[in-house]
Structure formats: structure tokens, C-alpha cells
């Protein structure tokens, strides 16, 4: 199978930040010796080379479908990546000290795409709940928000993410879970977002400014009552003016149709 290497090396060297890097000893597959290598973790990819300054990458490990284990074996500060399945590998590592070992184990546990996917789904659901609790769901501004977020982010159904001790989510676990919808039902947004953000994964340029995300920089009146009062004042004013100009014509003015308090 051809892995288009240039795409990986380009991604490694681009401006998005590295998630973790440092020296680790990697066990050679053939014999029992360990070799010191410089590792760089970015997204769900673990790259390794001889030294940090090296241009030549020795290899990459795609971190999907593996469990992270702290090793009980005789080697100090050891841990491993265990790929589940017939004939699949186990990569063994040793860190220089306990802190480094712990730090790498933690970083690798949260590295997989599957893990991130579940986390995003879960947080998306929490976000919707948090908005509802603030009463934004029912206000006239709320419906605008709802439509634009549905357009932009993942759907919020799906199981809650669970963090299990010592394991990253294997691809098999996630993909066999019952009916996690992967598609967003397209909805018409009342506003067209700038084309730059609409359908393009950002390249080397800076991420879209915070203000360009839906909702941010937008300070809605959170209470519908406040909105009602606010517009009510306008209506009151308009009505007073109308009454003044029509006083000569109308003998009787009926009671308020709408009580604005």
C-alpha cells in the first residue's frame, strides 16, 4: 500500500502546533535492543527521527486502533502501543524518567481521531444543553444560532464519550457503535457565511479569527423578556406619536390591544 509520504511530512512541518515531542527509546522489532529516537506527536501521527534537527524522517506510526499500556516488564519507565488484531504489532518504548513516561502515556491516550471525534460529539451536546439552559433556544436570536451551528458543526446525537483507563479508543470500537450518524442534514442558513470559511480546510494561513466563528462577538439579549420590553418601548413610542397626530380625528380611543406594562 502506498502511503503518500509527502503529505505527511508536509503536515508535520506546517504551522499547526506539535502536540508533544522528545527523546524516547524505541525497541527494535528484531532483537531486544533499544534505540534512542526523537519523537514528534502531531494529531494521530507519531513521527520519529534520529535527532531533532534531522530532515530525514525514519518513520511514522498512525495511532488508530491501538491501546496504550504502561508496561509491567523489567524495563524501567516503559510503555507500549498495542495494535489489536491478528498479526498486528506492538511498539515498545522506554522513557528517561517516570514523569516523561507518564506525560507520553497521557498524550498518546488522547491522540486518536476516534477519541477526538467522540469528545467533539460529547462537547457539542453539552454546548447545546448549556445554550438551552440560558434560554437562548427559544429567543428569536436563538433560532438563528441553531441554524448556523447545525450547518457548521457535527450533529449532536450519539453516545457520551467515556474515558477508559489505559486505552485509547480503537477504530473498531467507534465504528461498530450503533448508528452514529456521520452526516449533517443540510439546512438553509438565513445568512451566508464568508466563502473563505465555508468549504475550505485552512492551509498554512492563520486559522479563521475567533470573531468569524458563529456566535462569537455576538452579544444577544439573553432574556426574551428583555427583548420584549426593548421592542415594546419602540412600539409604545410609535403609538404615542400616532395618537398625538390623530387626536383630532378620534373621539374615543379604545383600551390597549397589547399591554406593554
Amino acid at each position: 500500500m502506498k502511503l503518500h509520504e509527502k503529505l505527511l511530512t508536509h503536515y508535520l512541518s506546517c504551522t499547526s502546533p506539535v502536540d508533544k515531542e522528545g527523546y524516547l527509546c524505541k525497541k527494535k522489532e528484531r532483537n531486544a535492543t533499544y534505540q534512542r529516537r526523537w519523537f514528534v506527536l502531531k494529531a494521530n501521527l507519531l513521527f520519529y527521527q534520529e535527532r531533532p534537527a534531522d530532515r530525514h524522517l525514519l518513520g511514522v506510526i498512525v495511532l488508530e486502533g491501538c491501546a496504550v499500556r504502561r508496561s509491567e516488564s523489567g524495563v524501567q519507565f516503559a510503555f507500549s502501543l498495542v495494535f489489536e488484531g491478528p498479526g498486528l504489532k506492538t511498539y515498545r518504548f522506554a522513557a528517561g524518567d517516570g514523569q516523561t513516561q507518564e506525560s507520553w502515556v497521557k498524550a498518546l491516550l488522547s491522540a486518536s481521531h476516534c477519541y477526538l471525534s467522540l469528545l467533539v460529539r460529547d462537547l457539542g451536546r453539552q454546548y447545546e444543553e448549556a445554550k438551552q439552559q440560558r434560554g437562548l433556544g427559544e429567543s428569536c436570536h436563538g433560532s438563528f444560532i441553531k441554524q448556523t451551528t447545525t450547518n457548521f458543526f457535527f450533529p449532536v446525537q450519539g453516545p457520551t464519550a467515556e474515558v477508559r483507563e489505559g486505552r485509547s479508543f480503537s477504530a473498531g470500537t467507534v465504528l461498530h457503535a450503533p448508528s452514529i450518524p456521520n452526516r449533517v442534514v443540510p439546512k438553509k442558513s438565513p445568512k451566508l457565511w464568508p466563502r473563505r470559511n465555508a468549504h475550505v480546510t485552512p492551509l498554512n494561513g492563520p486559522a479563521p479569527l475567533y470573531g468569524e466563528w458563529p456566535l462569537v462577538g455576538f452579544d444577544p439579549l439573553e432574556d426574551f423578556k428583555k427583548l420584549h420590553d426593548h421592542y415594546g418601548q419602540e412600539v409604545k413610542k410609535a403609538r404615542e406619536e400616532w395618537l398625538r397626530s390623530h387626536r383630532a380625528e378620534e373621539a374615543h380611543i379604545d383600551g390597549d390591544l397589547i399591554d406593554l406594562g
Binding site: M1, K2, L3, H4, E5, K6, L7, T9, H10, Y11, P17, D19, A43, N44, L57, L58, G59, V60, V62, E64, G65, F83, L88, K89, K106, A107, S110, H113, L116, S117, V120, L123, Q126, Y127, A130, K131, Q133, R134, F153, F154, V163, A171, L175, H176, N182, R183, V184, P186, H199, V200, T201, P202, L203, N204, A207, L209, Y210, W213, L215, V216
Partner: protein, 158 residues
Amino acid sequence: MRFNEKEMVSLSRQPSEMAAELGMRGPKKGDVVKKRLVKLVVNFLFYFRTDEEEPIGALLLEQCRVEREDTQVFSIVFLDEAERKYLFECNSEEQCGEWVDSIIKASYEFMRKNLIFYRTEIHRLTGKDPLEQYGISDETRFQVNNGLQLMPRDTSSL
């Protein structure tokens, strides 16, 4: 460069909602459209010869631009090089739209940005950091200023 090939092949065999026979054309001059089973798994696009068990190749879907070229055709440009453009012919307008959408959303970087957005917003709305319950608040990969410029006021406690 070495990579965990067997494990990647195993990954390519995982069930995926986005798997279909599409017409695929490579980036080189003289490349013709070939019928391929194209499959999206995590942030990789695998492509197989129909009825073959092992994929021909895998494309990492990070730092790429996905665009609709025509009603039924979409393209992926890698490395910001117009020459590295792959074309995919779909069977319907709807299918084409679904692929464009899915590929964009499969990017790890795209998901990370979403996560950071939700984290910030939940914190703003509730005063709580939602990652605390998972014990991952300090992980570099989820940091709020990770590639995203923010207004200072809401992030002092993150």
C-alpha cells in the same frame, strides 16, 4: 520512511459510511479516470481497485483544499500545489455534496478547532471547563490558544 502498513491496511477495512465506487483521476498529466473504491476512514482517504482487499494507497486529509468542481465532481488539492489535484467523479449531485462535506469534517485540525470552540463556549456559558471531568484539561492538543486567536476576556481562567 517506514510506517505501520499492516495496521493501516487493517484500518482501511473498518466499516465506513463514506465508501463508494467513484471515478478517480490522479494529479499527473496523462492520468486518466479510473474506477476506484474510495473509502474515508478517520482522516485518511483510502482507494482500492474494485474487489481487492488491500488498498492501493492512502491520502492524509490534512492541509488540503476540497472543492466542488462540477455538479458531480469534486477535487482535493494537496500541498497548496495546483498540480497535486485529485479529481473524483460521483454518481449524483447529492453524493458529491456528501463527500465534500465529509472530507472537510474528517480533518483532525477541523475537529480540533471545533473542540476548542465548544470548550471555550461551554466555559463562557457555565463557568466550567468541560475537559476537567476527563482529566485532559492540560493536554497541549486541547489548549485554547492552540492555533486560534481569541479575545482575552473569556480565557483567563482556562
